[in-house]
């Protein structure tokens, strides 16, 4: 369990690998203003908009907790569970400016610590590691924590 392993994003291009200023990378339709996460790069999915001009944007880093739950049993692959398995919490967070809800695992809190409406902020945390690398994901955490 060397702490020196290189850190890699668990998925390429969905968020900035900046632990001080993590941001989700989406896109925004230049025509109608609809925001997409993960980024939609080819066509706007608003049925009343035919635009294909969808520049990259960074999403808000704070939002309100819409709902939350956890998983008490190891899920099947491709999730990489630690051994022994550790239950994890998942939050659905509502971003005001983007008018959308984004899911994420919760860092540093369990369901007992959460309540709908709480302010949550984006953070980066290890999702899993293998012999070579540590794989990093965005997660949500309560602002107060």
């Amino acid at each position: 369990m060397s702490p020196q392993k290189p850190k890699k994003p668990a998925v390429e291009g969905w968020f900035d690998m900046d632990e001080q200023k993590p941001r989700l990378v989406g896109s925004r339709c230049a025509e109608c203003g609809t925001v997409y996460f993960p980024a939609e790069k080819v066509f706007c999915r608003n049925p009343r908009c035919a635009s294909s001009d969808l520049p990259e944007v960074r999403l808000s880093t704070r939002g309100r907790l819409w709902s939350f739950t956890n998983n008490c049993y190891p899920p099947p692959p491709p999730y990489v569970s630690p051994d022994p398995f550790e239950p994890y919490t998942v939050a659905a967070v509502e971003l005001e400016a983007e008018k959308m809800v984004v899911l994420g695992q919760v860092a540093g809190a369990g369901v007992e610590d959460l309540e709908a409406g709480m302010e949550m902020e984006l953070t980066l945390d290890t999702l899993f590691e293998d012999d070579e690398n540590e794989y990093v994901m965005w997660k949500w955490r309560p602002v107060a924590a």
Binding site: R45, C49, W66, S67, P75, L103, A116, L127
Partner: protein, 395 residues
């Protein structure tokens, strides 16, 4: 109305964890449906198959798979897939063939053999598949989404874990005498609340299992049906709607909702639109229904469906349940079959099984679980990737 098709026959292979080839379940269900209709397999002109992604190539071409197993007869075929809503797609394919006058009598079949435990995505490294990614990056199993909806009900409407458990208890009682149900056991609220937590606030007994099973229908034009029966049960509507943009409720297998920053939110949210479209087709409303079969993937989701299919206003589902309105003998019994609580899910067969149950109920053949005076009922179901499913069956 001129838009009805007759249900001449229904058949099911009992749900369970039999571990045999799915074709066997489909053939058994099909033969039962043919017997029930008083027809021979060779009378069937068109076969609509509900596909499964878990049983290799034969599962992806089920109409031909079942046609071959029943004995090549030259029937025309169509296979379709719509996740949990697969069965409704198959029903609608057969129905539209009949309504277009392209055939008189059709067979609809769906069957599945499922692995143990959570439904998992297909294998490999598939960074372009949201279903693979949600497991990889979030560990977002199906129960994770069910848990999010359940917690939301608690936060928005003050629902309690006891309310959810009572939905499970009701369905457990309903399914006790159903010969096709997998779980025939009565549970108390205490039993449910003592079962292990899976995805807070939902416990093991409140989350639908994965099952093997098969279901089939023989559908016919009204003209064809008149030669075979004096009292056919009919399909009055099939809704297979997709959401309207922006879909602002988080849905499997997505990482986010649509954004409402660039357009108006639709008047009717997706889940409300599913049965609404069926009601519009049939020229009926929720107040006309005598019973309903809804997709209780979790105990709490059953309560959401009461509101989504218009049985009550948002936030009133717990009262409807707790007053006994949705229990057999109540005002509008829901899931008299026992629902997914007692069946578990055999994906491509499930929406077809819902129609089998309504047919038996309307014929007065639902022994041990009969809703007295059932004349018209509605099914509701939703499949991931944006598939709605609702069928109205009437006498």
């Amino acid at each position: 109305m001129g838009k009805d098709v007759a249900i001449l026959g229904v058949g099911m292979h009992p749900w369970g964890k039999w571990g045999r080839n799915f074709v066997e379940y489909g053939v058994k269900a099909a033969r039962d449906a043919l017997d029930d209709a008083g027809l021979q397999w060779t009378d069937i002109q068109f076969v609509a198959g509900g596909a499964t992604i878990r049983n290799g190539y034969p599962g992806q071409v089920p109409a031909a798979t079942f046609a071959q197993a029943l004995g090549w007869s030259g029937a025309q075929v169509a296979s379709s897939y719509g996740a949990c809503a697969t069965g409704a797609q198959a029903i609608n394919t057969a129905r539209t063939q009949i309504l277009a006058g392209l055939c008189d009598v059709a067979l609809v079949v769906g069957a599945d053999t499922t692995p143990k435990g959570f439904f998992a995505p297909q294998g490999g490294e598939r960074f372009d598949d949201p279903d693979w990614l949600r497991f990889r990056l979030l560990g977002a199993t199906n129960p994770i989404y069910f848990g999010l909806y359940a917690r939301r009900r608690m936060e928005a409407y003050g629902a309690t874990e006891q309310d959810f458990a009572r939905a499970r208890v009701k369905n457990g009682r309903h399914g006790l005498a159903n010969p096709n149900a997998r779980y025939k056991k009565a549970f108390s609220v205490e039993d449910v609340l003592a079962s292990p937590m899976v995805s807070d606030p939902l416990r093991l007994l409140e989350i639908c299992a994965t099952s093997d099973g098969g279901a089939a229908l023989v559908l016919a034009s009204e003209e064809f049906a008149r030669k075979h029966t004096t009292r056919p049960v009919k399909i009055a509507a099939v809704s297979t709607v997709t959401p309207e943009f922006p879909q602002t409720v988080i849905e499997m297998p997505n990482f986010s909702t649509d954004s409402a920053a660039g357009s108006q939110v639709p008047d009717t949210p997706f889940k409300d639109s599913i049965a609404k479209r069926a009601y519009e087709q049939a020229g009926l409303g929720p107040e006309d229904m005598d019973l309903a079969e809804v997709y209780d993937l979790s105990s709490a989701l059953e309560l959401d469906w009461y509101e989504n299919i218009g049985l009550c206003k948002p936030g009133e589902a717990e009262r409807l349940l707790n007053d006994g309105d949705t229990t057999i003998g109540g005002r509008i019994p829901v899931n008299p079959s026992g629902g997914l609580s007692c069946f578990g899910e055999a994906i491509p067969a499930q929406a077809i099984a819902q129609v089998c149950e309504l047919t038996w109920q309307i014929r007065g053949q639902a022994e041990g679980r009969q809703v007295e005076g059932a004349r018209v009922g509605v099914t509701a179901n939703q499949g991931l990737f944006g598939h709605g499913s609702s069928v109205i069956v009437r006498s």
